[in-house]
């Protein structure tokens, strides 16, 4: 195409968009409608974060009830069954509804900013992920309100306990369908992030210039798309066992419960890297900023992350050493498990190397990051102990394992996610959080966490079993359990103060400048909070730590800016259909829970597959209307002052939408 005369096509978007679906597209981007129809990755990220924090508190309360029950020997604060429900819901909630979505919140909000993109590749699909996450959490927790209550099967849901025979209540069905819908949320998110990172980088931002957090988002997304199918199919098989009389895991008809363990852990082990790799990405962003040094060994950290992700698929059976896999399999899995210590160790040495000789500022995010390195190492060491099958045989199902994975998940993931929240809060809200209060939160969490979980190592060594609702005083476990409970409450108080501090800072915190931490990556080059269009200009990248180079680097490495064309910045339109599609999926999942099950009030099984079919039809209509509506779009015209000094756009610049 030659440079032709402009047509009406390029005129600014009309105030009223063309009617292009069943109804007019929502235009209001504030208030409830604005939130329910949003396709803005920043609002969606905030939605993920608020949902995840709510579920973090819910799962935390469940944990505190568990600890209160274990505070003294032979207590009957809660029944054994309630205890089982609580540890099931605590584990499921923390993994699928707290840590994963909190990571997803950062993927959504930070990653597009770090690569200089206007949004993710598929903004409406992103909204679908958010709604599926929230509705999945709703389905899971609805189980409390139905006869039989919440599932009591553990987050691992080992067969044959999950058979209709042993778990007749609907709690297990709520768990199955809740996880399915959460799987959809994770999968659509991951397809979107992969496409965004691979395809929508700013000019000059080669893969080896990507910020580490974006790299870890990419690797985590690959883990999600390759690991989730295993549990999706396992859950479908379990659902068929429970509802349609198949024998996948049902011993009566020849099913092998061990198959569930394999399928679950083929998903479950990559899942633990899905929880920790984003955390490692956050740490790799924060340490260089507060050490005032570039990340030490950047390519090695990227490569180690990829190796961890790759090996993550080859070690699932170390969760099953005591099931009798045979010598060869056990040896191979033990070897591969030990191998993972190498890339992990490489990362830790690189983080230490980053701090080494740096002018370190111990701000709250930095304290959490340093705490992460130490606590994650502790969890890593016990992990290496488990990788030896004879040692594992001693530790299986004891509190030693509980101590191990809480060190990597709280001391690891949660500390890093808190570091991330303190670090990026000024960017997201435009407000500063008080550093002194932040440090109090850190020390409360750090002390509480260690007091709660360190004694569990000793409890486990002396044989205290997991998943048991009480213990005898003669076992000598009283003291450790008492202090562990005290520690858990201190940890809880720390998190509570954090939430209060965050709410306070949101309303009353001091105004945050663009770059309050003297940071290094692209998200700090735009406003706090960023405008709807993220960047008023197209950044052209010349260095890995671009914003740092702009401030302190040589002229040749400074960022160039390209001004938007005369038609402004193209933005995607809002849409109702992601929400409607997710509600269709939600109805179908609820219908599956109630399939041939007693319905409250009538206490009779009244529903076959009617609700499921209705839900699927709603889903199809949602998707068809979504496709018919198209991405839409309008143009925004930023204030020219925002892109002062930018090169004018080349004639055919604003090409891709």
């Amino acid at each position: 195409m030659s440079s032709t005369v402009e047509t009406e096509h390029h005129a600014p978007a009309p105030a009223e968009p063309v009617r292009d679906g069943i109804w007019r597209r929502p235009l209001k981007n504030t208030g409830l409608v604005g939130f329910l129809t949003t396709v803005d990755h920043k609002k969606i990220g905030i939605g993920y974060a608020l949902g995840a924090l709510f579920f973090l508190l819910l799962g935390g309360i469940e944990a505190l009830i568990i600890r209160a029950q274990l505070m003294y020997p032979e207590q009957e604060l809660i029944s054994a069954r309630t205890y089982n429900q609580l540890f099931t819901m605590h584990g499921t909630t923390m993994i699928f509804l707290a840590v994963m979505p909190l990571s997803a919140a950062f993927f959504n909000y930070i990653m597009p900013l770090q690569i200089g993109a206007r949004d993710v590749a598929f903004p409406r699909m992103n909204a679908l992920g958010l709604w599926c996450f929230l509705l999945g959490g709703v389905i899971l927790n609805l189980s409390w309100f139905f006869p039989g209550g919440a599932p009591a099967i553990g987050w691992f849901a080992y067969a044959p306990l999950t058979d209709r025979q042993y778990s007749p209540e609907m709690g297990t069905d709520f768990w199955i369908m809740g996880l399915q819908i959460l799987g959809i949320a994770s999968l659509v998110g991951a397809f979107n992030f992969i496409t965004t990172i691979v395809n929508m980088r700013a000019p000059g931002l080669s893969m080896m210039r990507l910020p580490l957090f974006t790299w870890m988002t990419l690797i985590t997304s690959f883990l999600i798309i390759l690991a989730f199918p295993a549990i999706t199919i396992a859950l479908v098989e379990l659902m068929f066992d429970r509802h349609f009389g198949t024998y996948f895991f049902n011993v009566e008809g020849g099913g092998k419960p061990i198959l569930w363990q394999h399928l679950f852990w083929i998903f479950g082990h990559p899942e633990v890297y899905i929880l920790i790799l984003p955390a490692m990405g956050i740490i790799s962003e924060i340490l260089p900023v507060f050490s005032r040094k570039p990340l030490f060994g950047y390519p090695l950290i990227v490569f180690s992350g990829a190796v961890i992700g790759f090996l993550g698929f080859a070690v699932w059976s170390h969760h099953m050493f005591t099931t009798g896999l045979g010598v060869v399999a056990t040896t191979a899995f033990a070897f591969l498990t030990m191998l993972i210590a190498i890339p992990t160790g490489v990362k830790i040495f690189n983080w230490i190397g980053t701090m080494w000789g740096g002018r370190i500022r111990f701000t709250t995010p930095m304290l959490f990051s340093v705490g992460f390195i130490w606590m994650f190492m502790m969890g890593g060491f016990t992990g290496i102990m488990h990788s030896s099958p004879p040692v594992d045989a001693q530790q299986q199902d004891t509190y030693f394992v509980v101590a191990h994975f809480h060190y990597v998940l709280i001391g690891g993931s949660i500390f890093a996610l808190f570091a991330g929240m303190y670090y990026w809060f000024p960017k997201v809200s435009g407000r500063l959080m008080d550093d002194f209060v932040g440090k109090i939160v850190f020390y409360l969490m750090f002390i509480g966490f260690n007091l709660a979980f360190f004694p569990m190592h000793i409890l486990g060594m002396t044989g205290m079993p997991r998943r048991t609702h009480t213990y005898k005083s003669e076992m000598g476990w009283d003291q450790s359990n008492f202090w562990s409970t005290v520690g858990a409450f201190i940890l809880g108080i720390g998190i509570l103060i954090f939430v209060i501090q965050m709410v306070y800072a949101f309303y009353k915190g001091g105004k945050a400048p663009k770059d309050p931490w003297d940071s290094r990556t692209l998200e700090w080059d735009t406003d706090s909070p960023p405008k709807e269009y993220n960047f008023a200009y197209t950044p052209v990248i010349h260095a890995r730590d671009q914003v740092w180079e702009d401030k302190y680097g040589v002229e040749a490495k400074r960022m160039e800016k390209i001004a938007p064309g005369k038609h402004g910045i193209h933005m995607p339109d809002q849409s109702w259909w992601p929400l409607i599609t997710s509600i269709g999926i939600f109805i179908a999942c609820l219908g599956m829970v109630f399939h041939k099950q007693p319905v409250p009030l009538t206490a009779e099984a009244v529903f076959g597959l009617e609700i499921v079919i209705a839900g699927l039809v709603a889903t199809f209509i949602g998707m068809a209307a979504w496709a018919l509506e198209g991405p839409g779009g309008f143009h925004l015209h930023p204030d020219p002052a925002e892109y002062a000094g930018a090169t004018p756009a080349p004639e055919d610049e604003h090409g891709h939408h």
Binding site: A121, F191, I194, A230, A234, G253, G254, A624, G655
Partner: protein, 239 residues
């Protein structure tokens, strides 16, 4: 330039702007490849489940007693040929030959439906004559879930391609689709009518992406047909 492209008659010009990404691959295509990687794992899990139980219980069910390999072989051949028609649809779409694309899409859909009818007939035959149900044995459970999941994939593909066929109809067909097309079930008419006349040259990419899915589902069938049907005949052939 892109906005001009949407109104031009040149299909290549309409598709060019979509390639302005960091890699030169269109976003939708990349996302579809990621989805197919994921789908590999879905089918991998199902196929492993089936094969593991075949190994654990080699003699409980003798599938060759009720398998109709001629029929399944024929419908497999039809499904593979549908891939040829799909490729021709994509080629026509890229050349801007909308009528040709529609004809090839209808052919693909027709072949897909033949395959699905074969599967319905086969399931019916297995349940009624061989007594193989979801809960007759583990073989029944794994067989129906695996081949059924594949059937659902084909059915979704047929639905997807039908949507694009409807989109590619000339605009004045909308009324006919809604009112006159008595041979179609009313809900279908209601769904397809708003799609009529929507096809633009840039949608060639969407047809191509649907084609990627269609070819993938066919390739998976080659694996399933081999692992579930053909290997059962190895002992009979003396291997």
């Amino acid at each position: 330039m892109s906005s001009h492209a949407a109104t031009t008659d040149d299909p290549h010009a309409a598709l060019e702007p979509l390639k302005k990404t960091s890699t030169g691959i269109e976003n939708k295509k990349l996302a579809m490849w990621a989805f197919l990687a994921s789908d590999c794992m879905f089918f991998g899990t199902l196929i492993s489940t089936h094969l593991i139980y075949r190994k654990v219980y080699p003699t409980v069910v003798e599938p060759t007693e009720f398998f109709d390999i001629e029929l399944t072989g024929f419908s497999s051949f039809i499904l593979l040929m549908s891939s040829l028609l799909m490729a021709l649809s994509v080629s026509a779409a890229h050349k801007g030959n909308i009528a040709g694309m529609r004809r090839f899409l209808l052919g693909t859909i027709f072949f897909g439906l033949i395959f699905l009818s074969g599967q319905v007939y086969e399931f019916n035959h297995f349940v009624k004559d061989a007594g193989l149900t979801l809960s007759s044995s583990v073989f029944g459970s794994t067989f129906y879930l695996l081949t059924g999941t594949h059937g659902v994939h084909v059915a979704l593909g047929v639905l997807w391609l039908s949507c694009w066929t409807a989109c590619s109809l000339p605009k004045d067909w909308a009324w006919y689709t809604l009112r006159g097309g008595r041979f179609l079930w009313l809900p279908f008419r209601v769904i397809f009518a708003p799609m009529v006349g929507r096809y633009k040259h840039e949608n060639a990419l969407d047809v191509e992406v649907a084609g990627l899915y269609w070819h993938f589902v066919d390739i998976v069938w080659i694996v399933i047909f081999t692992a579930v049907y053909l290997v059962e005949y190895l002992p009979i052939l003396g291997f």
